[in-house]
Symmetry: C2
Subunit: 341 residues, 2 copies
DNA sequence: TACAGCAACCCAATCGATTGGGTAAGCCGG
DNA sequence: CCGGCTTACCCAATCGATTGGGTTGCTGTA
């Protein structure tokens, strides 16, 4: 009664074959494809016996061995700036789901948005022989991407896009436009943008979309009204400080391209005795779960983070199949709350 | 000039051996260990030639092949409730760092704290032949853990502990005690605890530590003053609502075992016209980066999340070596801010 | 009756690295 | 000059699964 479940070693094809008195290759063919190759490889009843025994013994093929032979690992590498960034964490959840559905497993690594780390992490993943990469931290001026292309590494971008590469992103330009429309219609005429990091398409596109629409509405906005900053609360705080000290009278609305920066900005406004939503409107981006929970709930552009993750997996799968793929941009939605209403 | 970097196929041991006119096994031995086995396997100058060529050709051993032969994959599986939980995301960053230093790669999967998913994810990782597991979502009443033990799967717990299993956690009991000391010394005498999920040792230990210390200080606290809740903002909000409606007069201090629950609770207090820090003190747990950035900065117990992740890796490594290991509890630190000062 | 055709399998090489067991050449002491 | 010891290698099996190319035995048919 000791060998009911797992004996001691894991079950191999050969074990099954021995027990059934047939050749491992037959077992392989039976188990390999639903019944495509199986037809012609074994009789219906043998196939049945094989499948039964496999189930009973809890057989699961060794991915090392399979990968060695087939040259495919069913592994995807995912590189993000940092998983402690809620936005990326949620995208990764989407990736995990979609990847699991397709029989892929995923590695994630944090690059801290540092080009050297990006390269190092990519190398680690390639050394692991991942089938493809999902890059969530692409810099607009990256030279890693051309290198990967030259090395024929299959990859797609996620979250941030770079011209000429397949990507799954939010339609950030549209997002910026939505904010412009909203603030304009609320009667704001003097606004500033906390623009994020200039190497990230998210920041650039959201800012550009905003400015372009603002101007086409007849609004006035100059380079001085745009402050580049880090994506975190501290960055947003500093940017807001600089806006408040620099431009008098202060703007009546702030658009921060990221919720965390927006939260930091709200802190700065408070320190200056300004009430968010009454004195100064604030709009963020991503609609992270916190936005709605703040003392003054934050208006934010809701980007479909989970779906972006899922889309990235599907894209990379198509790249792996050798298909040519177009960048994919998922539509965002503006959630208006007290901070700008 | 085409074969300078990577030709087309990746370089194998045999390629190197052929080019040097020696046997693959010799190359393997040279490259295998710093110079332990190398001594005796090849002359110093041959070894040098091997290493040079390996470097030049950008040789990196195929992990599938190595794993197949050695029965070790250098892969660790990590299961967490959800990576979008900042606490786990940061622990994972610690894991990633430490694992990379030891030559391990890591898979992470989200279980959503659902027992079926926990099992499913563990099975996926084992099917991938991970060398060991780091379980970050252990339930106190889990039956997965005994099963894994029975199957001789090497694993350690992280974040949450369960009696009888190796784990790397915060000293949550101590954390609760710190909060009790603090609130007591601030003169509070009527307090409530937002206790989190009863299946998580984090919640149970923090609550128990608090209550025990509170009573030993001479304080009074009954089961009614303890509300179990989800770990997120919504959970904290609901718990606080229930506390405010249930107990009159309302408590003068709330201890939430988690920052997000604390933030939710702060929202509920606000809705009831109470000012956090003046009318009601609030203390959270984990000191996530947001705590300090809130309009009313949140007092919180700082748990060494990054170190916990790193510790988990070291523990699992020792388990893999067959050593017996003791649970490890890292000391937390109370950060007092406006919400309770 | 001989042969094509098919069903149902089996064989062996292969993927890339590791490893226990050789072996040949050279040197040294007795 | 021979046995024994090093040094510097080589050989081949092995890990588990896959896969192109067999082989065997039977049936149907011209």
């Amino acid at each position: 009664m000791d060998d009911t479940g797992a004996g001691d070693r894991t079950v191999t094809l050969k074990d099954l074959a021995n027990e059934l008195g047939i050749h491992p290759s037959t077992v392989s063919r039976v188990l390999h494809s639903g019944s495509d190759v199986a037809r012609g490889a074994a009789s219906v009843e043998t196939a049945e016996r094989v499948r039964d025994l496999a189930r009973k013994r809890g057989y699961s093929p060794d991915p090392q061995a399979t990968g060695l032979r087939t040259r495919r690992t069913q592994l995807l590498g995912v590189i993000v700036p940092r998983l402690s960034d809620l936005v990326l964490a949620i995208m990764y959840e989407g990736i995990e789901e979609a990847a699991a559905e397709l029989g892929y497993s995923t590695f994630v690594m944090n690059s801290q948005d540092d080009p050297d780390e990006q390269r190092r992490k990519a190398d680690i993943m390639l050394a692991r022989r991942v089938d493809g990469l999902i890059i969530g931290d692409a810099h607009l001026d990256s030279n890693l991407l051309p290198d990967l292309t030259a090395r024929k590494v299959p990859f797609v971008l996620m979250n941030r896009r770079v011209h000429g590469y397949p990507s799954a992103t939010c339609d950030d330009t549209l997002g910026g436009q939505l904010v412009a429309d909203h603030l304009w219609s609320q009667g704001h005429r003097k606004v500033s943008v906390i623009a994020g990091e200039p190497y990230a398409s998210t920041a650039v596109d959201r800012t550009a979309g905003f400015i372009e629409r603002w101007r086409s509405l007849g609004g006035n906005i100059s380079d001085n009204d745009v402050v580049w900053s880090r994506f975190d609360t501290a960055g947003g705080r500093e940017a807001a400080e600089s806006i408040l000290t620099r431009s008098k009278p202060h703007p009546t609305a702030l658009f921060a391209v990221n919720d965390f920066a927006a939260i930091g900005a709200m802190g700065a406004l408070r320190s200056h005795g300004l009430t968010v939503g009454r004195d100064v409107a604030v709009v963020g981006f991503n609609d992270t779960s916190l936005a709605a929970e703040l003392p003054i709930p934050l208006s934010s552009v809701r980007s479909p983070m989970l779906d972006i993750g899922r889309a990235a997996v599907k894209l990379v799968q198509r790249v792996l199949r050798g298909e040519r793929v177009e960048p994919e941009m998922l539509k965002p939605m503006l959630c208006i709350r007290e901070s700008s209403a």
